[in-house]
């Protein structure tokens, strides 16, 4: 049954009439026109569809869209401030922490949630935090380096 959902999408109050049981991923990529979240496995096994719900990383492929009601939903498209990239995005570009780029939005948002909870993760904590995100190209070493850089930067600022 369709219902009207109210939520914040990338900082903007948003209203959407939709069947609440549908997977968030298809609504995002369809009705909401945001294709940054990717399909990789459909079962929460790869992390390519990761988005932020009230700051926490969730798999959009396994989240019923009704779960976003009243919450703050952030996708990769909402991370940069206009032309200014988020420090994580900047670090991924600088470190060459991507190849095909298909897993990249999910990687960045997973790390975003991790740093929110733990701004100064150890290398092991970064590795643990990304364990469920798959990258087939093998950009892992550079992804860890990019995250370490951002974590160290935050450390210096605080």
């Amino acid at each position: 049954m369709k219902s009207v959902l109210q939520f914040h999408l990338n900082g903007k109050p948003t209203q959407l009439e939709v069947e609440g049981s549908r997977d968030l991923l298809w609504v995002l990529r369809g009705e909401l026109g945001l294709t940054g979240a990717k399909y990789g496995c459909g079962e929460g096994l790869c992390g390519a569809c990761t988005v932020l719900l009230d700051g926490a990383a969730v798999h959009a492929c396994e989240t019923p869209v009704a779960a976003i009601a009243g919450k703050r939903l952030v996708t990769i498209e909402g991370l940069a401030a206009g032309e200014r990239l988020h420090p994580l995005q900047e670090a991924f570009v600088e470190h060459g922490a991507l190849q095909c780029g298909y897993c990249t939005p999910g990687m960045i948002l997973t790390v975003h949630a991790l740093l929110e909870k733990n701004p100064h993760p150890t290398r092991q904590q970064i590795v643990d935090g990304l364990e469920d995100n798959l990258c087939r190209c093998g950009a892992h070493q550079r992804i860890v380096a990019a995250v370490e850089r951002v974590a160290a930067g935050k450390g210096a600022a605080s």
């Binding site: 997977d23 570009v93 095909c100 990249t104």
Partner: protein, 740 residues
């Protein structure tokens, strides 16, 4: 983004690598495959200065097993706005050739990297290309692009000389501006020179290229041109293309390869709102305006299948491969390989096995097709836009020029997207329904329909004498093919035979009886297995001779390039000579692939209780000739090593005849962050050699370097990939049971 990859939804797309696909060998003569001839092409191009790249087949494809058309291969256009557009049939799937190709053009032409726009993999606007694979883009395509840019620079200098009244020698080019060297305020831009003109030049392969010492853009590592689009979500992949009225399709698949559709009831699915059902014989699809709507309808189809015939499983496959093998092809013969068995020294015969391995790109095969006014446009996740175009044309009964394939960013290929069945499916459905259709395979379909790296067997009889000289090398390979089966060690008695592989025409046809499901090129096709076997056997002979494995290799190598690479790896790794097993867990392996020499050294820890291997460190030394983008080359090395951990440690398809038992990443285990070793890449300088391949070489020694390190750690020799904990435990038990 700076590369001007057009992101306006559904308009443009195009953005390389990997080895041959069997289907190419069955195609008609190359002249029919061309997208357009030079005249047609020149009508399409507007004003500006155009430089065409044309290479003869033998130059473009030195392996000699494929042909290229004699006509255009690529071109570049200098517009009145001073921007330079490069049109190439290569595609960007992560390997970074959007950036490296732009660097080549920028340097040879004398413009800033930011002045270059890349148009890749668009069959209407780019000249014909066989496909992006085999680490060919830089080594085969690079010289052509560079020559075109160098030629363009000469044209512009001539024009500028006339305009400024100064001889060419008195001019300087920088950032697309030509100025009088003695009087720098007198200048003219490339854009001004190109204005209102149409100048066409044709370039052969002989143009004078910049020397390494003159490089300003090449040899450096600018940020990837695709980086910003990929971190912001702006980068478009085939599944991100939206067309007006587009429907999403799900296609009925058999439960096993070889199963036949017995009966089908579509009534329940057809009753669902907004569902369309297409049935053309056994090709059955349901379509809906949402992907999940189509999935629900697929579940409502009632299909009965005749079971597929029984067939081999992961344990019986090896006997099967040997039993159905054709007569072998003898690749090499030296000395007296049959008689040398009785010679002095130690003889060891070893048999190596490897299972089927999936490509598993994170982006499954996806395509969007749209038929408008008799022209089919297909946005496809493919490594082979031109062969895709031809497959689509033949499937839907259109001439090739009535089909346009656009290649947006590709979310990983590794050889698997040389196959492009999804594009044909989308086009058939677009034709059948009259509306644009997206076909996006699920993970289960991606695994089921993959063209796997084949299971394979290698048997090697070798012998080594008291001085550490290898005297005998009898090598037989089943199903992996010939790549890297050849030998760079100087051994007097050699016989190398290949029983059925993927590469040669006759062998491809035989493969239908070899395998119950698709097989195809997988990053350095066949080389991973051949190098695993060869480099494992070399270590086995070193242990038999009581010699350090590096020392044994050096004693049997006359190839100075390989010696240099091994020595560079040893220096960076801190290799300490010793007999194996030393308990340290150090291993090495080397290889030659795509013109590049590579040596890996690794350190591992083996947990005896669980059998789990943890790779702590991998050092890679690589001589790839001139390096266009050092950081890009290192990214490929790191990617090869990380991806290589998969086929080495866990990746092996589970199947039962034509039934594929792996459906997703829960059972088919890809490398994860916790597996990550410290990877150090050393580029061995060789500026006297043109750039060689970079996408594949470092992955080929991964199986052997880990197997050799595991032996050094434990004394247990692993003869089968992947080296799963269970197999490691079994090998450890064998060591414990063997009396010292």
């Amino acid at each position: 983004m700076t590369a001007r990859y057009r992101n306006d939804r559904g308009v443009e797309g195009g953005v390389d690598r990997r080895s041959e696909h069997p289907e190419h060998s069955e195609r008609p003569e190359h002249s029919e495959r061309r997208s357009f001839d030079r005249r047609t092409f020149l009508r399409m191009v507007g004003g500006g200065i155009v430089v065409l790249v044309t290479l003869r087949p033998e130059d473009l494809f030195a392996q000699g097993q494929r042909t290229y058309p004699e006509d255009l291969n690529a071109y570049l256009l200098i517009g009145a706005d001073g921007r330079v557009t490069v049109f190439t049939g290569k595609i960007e799937m992560g390997q970074g050739v959007m950036t490296s190709q732009a660097q080549m053009v920028a340097d040879e032409l004398g413009v800033a990297l930011a002045a270059i726009d890349m148009v890749m993999g668009d069959t209407d606007r780019c000249p014909w290309d066989m496909g992006t694979f085999g680490s060919l883009t830089t080594r085969m395509f690079g010289p052509a692009l560079r020559a075109a840019a160098a030629e363009a620079r000469l044209v512009l200098l001539e024009l500028a000389g006339k305009k400024l009244g100064v001889a060419r020698a008195g001019l300087t080019v920088e950032n697309g501006i030509v100025s009088v060297t003695a009087e720098p305020t007198r200048k003219v831009t490339y854009g001004e020179l190109a204005q209102g003109r149409k100048i066409v030049r044709l370039v052969g392969e002989k143009a004078v290229l910049r020397q390494v010492a003159e490089f300003q853009v090449m040899g450096r590592s600018p940020a990837r041109l695709d980086g910003r689009a990929k971190v912001t979500g702006a980068a478009l992949y085939a599944g991100d293309i939206r067309r007006p009225g587009m429907l999403y399709a799900r296609i009925l698949r058999p439960p096993a390869h070889g199963a036949k559709l017995k009966s089908l009831a579509t009534a329940a699915a057809e009753k669902l709102p907004g569902i369309r059902v297409v049935r053309e014989a056994d090709f059955v699809a349901v379509l809906h305006e949402t992907p999940d709507g189509a999935t629900a309808a697929l579940a409502a189809l009632r299909a009965e299948w005749d079971p597929a015939p029984a067939g081999p499983d992961p344990e019986t496959i090896f006997e099967h491969l040997r039993s159905v093998a054709l007569e072998p092809q003898e690749l090499d013969r030296r000395g007296d390989p049959e008689g040398a068995h009785s010679g002095a020294g130690k003889a060891v015969t070893s048999t190596f096995h490897k299972g089927y391995v999936a490509h598993a790109p994170i982006e499954p095969h996806t395509a969007v097709a749209e038929l408008v006014d008799g022209k089919m446009t297909v946005w496809a996740s493919t490594q082979t836009p031109f062969p895709t175009r031809d497959s689509v044309a033949s499937a839907v009964g259109l001439a090739s020029d009535k089909v346009r394939v656009l290649t947006p960013y590709v979310g990983g290929g590794f050889g698997g997207k040389s196959a492009h069945r999804q594009a044909v499916e989308a086009a058939r459905l677009a034709k059948a329904t009259g509306v644009p259709v997206q076909v996006a395979w699920t993970r289960e379909e991606e695994i089921f329909l993959d063209t796997f790296d084949p299971a394979a067997v290698v048997e090697i009889a070798g012998a080594v004498d008291g001085e550490g000289r290898i005297t005998l090398w009898n090598y037989d390979v089943w199903a992996a093919g010939t790549r890297s089966a050849d030998l760079f060690y100087a051994i007097p008695n050699v016989r190398i035979r290949s029983y059925g592989g993927r590469m040669a025409g006759a062998e491809v046809r035989a493969s239908e009886s070899l395998h119950r499901f698709g097989v195809g090129p997988w990053r350095a096709p066949g080389a991973n297995m051949n190098v695993f076997a060869r480099e494992s056997q070399i270590d086995i002979l070193a242990a038999a001779a009581g010699l350090d494995p590096l020392e044994l290799r050096l004693r049997n190598l006359t190839d100075t390039r390989m010696r240099r690479v091994l020595e560079a790896a040893a220096g960076a790794f801190g290799w300490k000579p010793g007999k194996t097993p030393s308990g340290r867990g150090h291993g090495l392996a080397c290889g030659i692939d795509a013109g590049t020499y590579v040596a890996l050294m690794a350190e591992v820890e083996v947990d005896h209780a669980s059998g789990k291997i943890q790779v702590k460190r991998v050092v890679c030394a690589q001589d790839m000739g001139i390096v266009v983008n050092p950081d890009g080359a290192k990214m490929q090395i790191e990617g090869c090593i990380t991806m290589g951990l998969g086929y080495t440690l866990t990746e092996e398809l589970r199947f039962d005849g034509g039934r594929i038992l792996d459906r997703n990443f829960d059972t088919y285990a890809l490398p994860r962050f916790s597996w990550l070793p410290r990877i150090e890449a050393v580029l061995v300088k060789n500026d006297t050699l043109a750039p060689q391949g970079g996408g594949e070489p470092a992955i080929v020694p991964m199986g052997a370097v880990i197997a050799n390190a595991v032996f050094d750690a434990t004394g247990a020799r692993l003869y089968r990939l992947p080296m799963t904990p269970e197999r490691v435990r079994a090998a450890l038990r064998d060591v414990a049971a063997t009396p010292a």
